[in-house]
Amino acid sequence: MQSSFGSSVENPVVEQETRAAEELDLPWQVIVHNDPVNLMSYVTMVFQKVFGLTKEKAEKHMLEVHQLGRSILWSGMRERAELYVQQLHGYLLLATLERTN
């Protein structure tokens, strides 16, 4: 008779599921990229609305996007990061989600 412990360790399906769960737990980043068309005031307003930032903090991120080409606006679970990126695309900002190294 096989022990239940032994069978679960050797079962490849269980291992695949575990890996997928671990991948989902990895932190993700929401990144906004520079765009020469979007107005600085518009980008600031979007950051305030989507992330609930103060005007000062939103302007800091906006300037980072403008001067450095990108800014990390948020990091955390993938599902929420996807939602933020969707909202940013709704405002027509160039936004992506990336895995945190």
Binding site: E82, H89, G90
Partner: protein, 163 residues
């Protein structure tokens, strides 16, 4: 042209026929069907191409939602622009009133139009920053003027929204 905030609306008065015509062109400018560069910009990728699963799911589930959102904003603007058809004399200045609750839809549609025109004509950063460009001599110049005029209108709406 004069901008002012009225009780429940943003009013643009003394609109000359040329600027009124540019406003009428907002909905048409938002249409990116068949304009490859504009389609790519308006519906940009949510992640690097190596994240193929995310990009594929996005196309199926999120892009249709974004299309609906953008279409809804454009329809709101189209309905507000119907006021401009009330100008009885052919070369008379007219007035446009944007209801305050439609301000977000206007910001969205103006942004769609600006991004689509900029992608269509592939304007450089230098061109986009040159607000003192020489008079309009081509369809491309007119496109750049449209991008700047719509941006000016966005600034006015944003300013009034935050007051």
């Amino acid at each position: 042209m004069e901008f002012r905030r009225q009780k429940d609306c943003l009013e643009i008065s003394e609109l000359d026929p040329f600027l009124a015509e540019l406003l009428r062109q907002i909905p048409e400018s938002c249409n990116v069907e068949g304009v490859e560069g504009a389609q790519e910009r308006i519906f940009s990728a949510p992640a690097a191409t190596s994240e193929s699963e995310i990009c594929a799911e996005w196309k199926v589930y999120v892009e249709p939602e974004l299309r609906r959102l953008f279409r809804s904003a454009t329809e709101t603007v189209t309905a507000d622009l119907a006021q401009l058809n009330g100008c009885t004399k052919p070369f008379a200045n007219c007035t446009l009133r944007i209801p305050a609750e439609n301000a977000e839809a206007w910001l969205n549609a103006l942004n769609q139009a600006r991004l689509a025109i900029a992608a269509k004509y592939n304007f450089t950063d230098g061109e986009l920053c040159d607000h003192y460009r020489s008079p309009i001599g081509s369809r491309r110049d007119l496109g750049l003027f449209q991008v700047n005029f719509y941006g000016f209108l966005q600034e006015f709406i944003l300013q009034e929204m935050t007051l």
